[in-house]
């Protein structure tokens, strides 16, 4: 079975600074996908960024980028120029190729401080 571990229950960052959220996962499979989801207080889960395991290039989406280390099974999220609206729970998720259910970590609560 696949597992996802987020070792930082809570983090805080000053507005306009950079923060990195950690995620590690465990799988014996080779073809899979990784995701970061954001959950603000509204409870709405929003996809932030995704990474295909077969791609070596790290995904980027505006201020959000990942550091994907396949051998180490690590998938960290970097948020640059943090904004107050980035305050939320962030969940790392794993999905095997073949459209199987997403497996989530326990989340990191990020607070952006003015």
């Amino acid at each position: 079975a696949q597992t996802v571990t987020q070792s930082q229950p809570e983090m805080s960052v000053q507005e306009a600074e950079t923060v990195t959220l950690s995620c590690t996962y465990d799988t014996s499979e080779n073809n899979y996908y990784l995701f970061w989801y954001k959950q603000p207080p509204s409870r709405q889960m929003i996809l932030v960024i995704r990474q295909e395991a077969y791609k070596q290039q790290n995904a980027t989406e505006n201020r959000f980028s990942v550091n994907f280390q396949k051998a180490a099974k690590s998938f960290s999220l970097k948020i640059s120029d943090s904004q107050l609206g980035d305050t939320a729970m962030y969940f790392c998720a794993f999905m095997l190729r073949g459209n199987t259910p997403l497996v989530f970590g326990k989340g990191t609560r990020l607070s952006v401080i003015a």
Partner: protein, 114 residues
């Protein structure tokens, strides 16, 4: 509708009563997921529907939990003889069903068992 719709938004029920939670996925999405999010926790997989295939029920915590999906669209999650530990936010998501596609989430139903 434009997104995944869940109803009711909030439900308070007495211990021992049955409850039904509804999910309307995005039109045309063949995959539908139910997750449970307890206070301060990550998302716990419950059940997964994909097209006409038999659902993956491996995450259902007990036989008090069941779900159905009628006509490949609307899904209902039923909890019988509710217990206080069933109190949580129940999230539904849908996706187009092809590999590496984003799962779109509803805003969830907050269930409180008193």
């Amino acid at each position: 509708g434009a997104g995944v719709s869940q109803s009711p938004s909030n439900k308070v029920t007495e211990k021992g009563k049955d409850v039904e939670l509804r999910c309307d996925p995005i039109s045309g999405h063949t995959a539908l997921y139910w997750y449970r999010q307890s206070l301060g926790q990550g998302l716990e997989f419950l059940i997964y529907f994909q097209g006409n295939s038999a659902p993956d029920k491996s995450g259902l915590p007990s036989d008090r939990f069941s779900a159905e999906r009628t006509g490949g669209s609307v899904s209902t999650l039923t909890i019988q003889r509710t217990q206080q530990e069933d109190s949580a936010v129940y999230l539904c998501a849908s996706s187009p069903g092809t590999a590496n596609t984003e799962a779109f989430f509803g805003q969830g139903t907050r269930l409180t068992v008193v």
